[in-house]
């Protein structure tokens, strides 16, 4: 029988207005500064003078074609149809209110979509080639495409100020994203259909669902463990799509509340007065001695809480999952001490609503390996204070305080 190291769990909840320092991983990638210090979210440093550049390569695979459109292959109309899907996929994210990426309130932070003709526009074989240009490629081969891989996004971040690559801006902070590229498999093992062509394209994946997901990675997202989230690692099977199609009234239709909360956290609108709530607490075993056997993450430190619990905020009135995060650690910004103390922090929640919080082990819905990026970055090699990220604790049974035995 599977041993259980913890039969109970304490969640200490504090519902406060945002204001304290954020030190939680959420489901976002993070970077340990080269000079030491707390992990910093990976994100862009954008302004009207330096908007997010974006382009896509109009070079498309021909033998066999991998992009299925209503318009004829090789026609200008086909390029327009694909470009509209790219535009709508970005629009899903820039349609979220409460962020500086919101196209209505902050027009100009995302540059116009440009076209480039070279097939290998996402990278070439030159060593250390990162061009600082954010590109979507449909006709670029890569050794990353082992059998079964459909698409991937590579995001380059700096771990110190002063770093730049190619045409990128110079990093102003650790964790600044300098380059993002998405590559779709070009060799015909898979096909991708635009929304207009999806219904009649047997076996094709929905281009918009995959693109919107990949663009989420551009903004700094890792995967989410929330079922309905666009950033959930599994997309719909061929012929199906996620959420609802974007419309003028609801451009963010493909996203879930979890996705919206995440991008508000990364790029908060300083004028937002709605999504400013936070719930913080710790996930602890009923028997603290259960943690004694966990190896020390660094000299003189110990694990004092459940690490890697999936903590979810549910709107009690609607039953909707509003946000989920990966709890388990905190970092004191004054001392830069990283503690694996079971802390969690769910921010950018709409105020004036009631929430129920639950924590669950990362089993069944998702496993720790699905979030390896966010977890591994906590203890990055080369950090000023080396440590070893503890193994994710999946061996507990959650209960809510006031709890019984």
């Amino acid at each position: 029988m599977k041993p259980s190291i913890a039969v109970g769990m304490a969640i200490l909840l504090v519902f406060v207005l945002l204001g304290g320092p954020s030190a939680q991983a959420y489901l976002l990638d993070s970077t340990i500064p080269q000079a030491g210090g707390c992990p910093a979210y990976d994100r862009w440093n954008l302004s009207l003078a330096s908007p997010l550049n974006r382009r896509w390569s109009t070079s498309l695979p021909e033998g066999p074609p991998t992009l299925v459109t209503v318009a004829a292959q090789g026609s200008a109309a086909q390029l327009a149809e694909i470009e509209q899907v790219i535009t709508d996929s970005f629009g899903a994210w820039s349609g979220v209110t409460g962020t500086t990426f919101n196209a209505t309130n902050y027009p100009g932070l995302i540059a116009p979509l440009a076209q480039v003709s070279a097939a290998n526009s996402c990278s070439n074989d030159a060593e250390s080639n990162v061009d600082g240009l954010n590109t979507i490629c449909f006709n670029q081969s890569s050794m990353g495409f082992s059998t079964g891989v459909l698409a991937f996004t590579r995001v380059i971040t700096a771990n110190a100020p002063g770093i730049s690559v190619g045409a990128s801006a110079t990093a102003a902070f650790a964790g600044q994203i300098l380059d993002a590229d998405s590559l779709f498999r070009p060799d015909g093992q898979a096909t991708f259909a635009t929304p207009a062509a999806l219904a009649t394209s047997a076996g094709a994946y929905d281009l918009e669902s995959l693109l919107a997901h990949e663009i989420g990675h551009w903004f700094g997202f890792d995967h989410s463990a929330v079922w309905r989230a666009l950033m959930f690692p599994f997309a719909p099977p061929p012929g199906q799509f996620l959420g609802s199609r974007p419309t003028a009234q609801a451009p963010d239709g493909p996203l879930s509340d979890d996705d919206r909360t995440g991008i508000r956290l990364l790029y908060p609108d300083p004028n937002d007065t709605v999504n400013i709530g936070a719930i913080r607490g710790r996930v602890l075993p009923a028997n603290p001695f259960a943690l004694a056997a966990i190896p020390a993450p660094s000299q003189g430190a110990s694990v004092t809480g459940i690490f890697g619990a999936h903590v979810v905020a549910v709107d009690t009135d609607t039953g909707s999952v509003i946000a989920g995060t990966l709890g388990g650690w905190s970092c004191d910004s004054s001392s830069s001490v990283l503690r694996f103390d079971g802390s969690f922090d769910i921010e950018r929640l709409p105020v004036g609503r009631n929430y129920m919080i639950y924590a669950e082990p990362l089993v069944g819905l998702a496993t720790p390996s699905d979030f390896s990026g966010a977890l591994n970055d906590l203890c990055a090699s080369g950090s000023a204070a080396p440590c070893t990220t503890p193994a994710v604790d999946t061996n507990f049974n959650p209960r809510i305080l006031p709890a019984g035995p």
Partner: protein
């Protein structure tokens, strides 16, 4: 307490149901991965090994940052492999830059795994379908028996017929059973070629 717990579970279950009914019709697919059976992966893999992670390093190649993970090969299930192999995985840290690619497995030194591999033009290996071709070995201390769990075997899917959640992929499968499935797929392929 019991009332709260019961309500919580009910809400959680309803959330899962609602989300799945909205988002997933049948089987789930990875955003970046094409769903493959063990038989399909066995046919796609040039080499299948049981191995122990020995070392991780990062470096540039072909315009990308890669993590190169070396493994001590403990057993070869398909093809041929030297006693030590290197697997290249997208992403990693090089100098002041970090390349992040979600969905790529990472390995800890000492960890034992079963890997479905393809050779790259550089002479090292890549993993078939990334997470899907990665199986972590877990040993039960009391009995010494070993089981494997697929990295992508993490998501339950809603079966409309039974109205129950069922986990996709392979979880806690005795390693001998996985080996038998691989052997059967390889044998079937050999018969077909004859």
């Amino acid at each position: 307490m019991m009332k709260i717990t019961s309500r919580l579970r009910r809400i959680h279950f309803l959330c899962r149901c609602a989300a799945l009914l909205l988002a997933i019709g049948g089987t789930a697919k990875a955003t970046t991965l094409m769903r493959m059976s063990v038989a399909q992966m066995s046919r796609a893999a040039q080499v299948i090994v049981r191995a122990r992670c020995q070392e991780n390093s990062t470096g540039w190649d072909a315009g990308e940052i890669w993590t190169f993970t070396s493994f001590e090969v403990q057993d070869v299930w398909r093809g041929s492999a030297p006693s030590r192999i290197t697997v290249r995985l997208l992403g990693g840290r090089a100098g002041n830059l970090t390349s992040s690619v979600s969905g790529v497995p990472r390995f800890r030194v000492g960890e034992e795994v079963v890997l479905f591999l393809e050779r790259t033009p550089r002479g090292d290996f890549c993993i078939v379908s990334w997470e899907q071709g990665t199986f972590r070995i877990r040993r039960t201390a009391a009995t010494g028996s070993e089981s494997v769990t697929q990295d992508s075997a993490s998501f339950a899917t809603f079966d409309r017929g039974t109205r129950e959640f069922e986990s996709a992929g392979i979880r806690n499968l005795p390693i001998e059973t996985l080996r038998a499935q691989v052997d059967a797929a390889v044998s079937a392929e050999a018969r077909r070629k004859q």
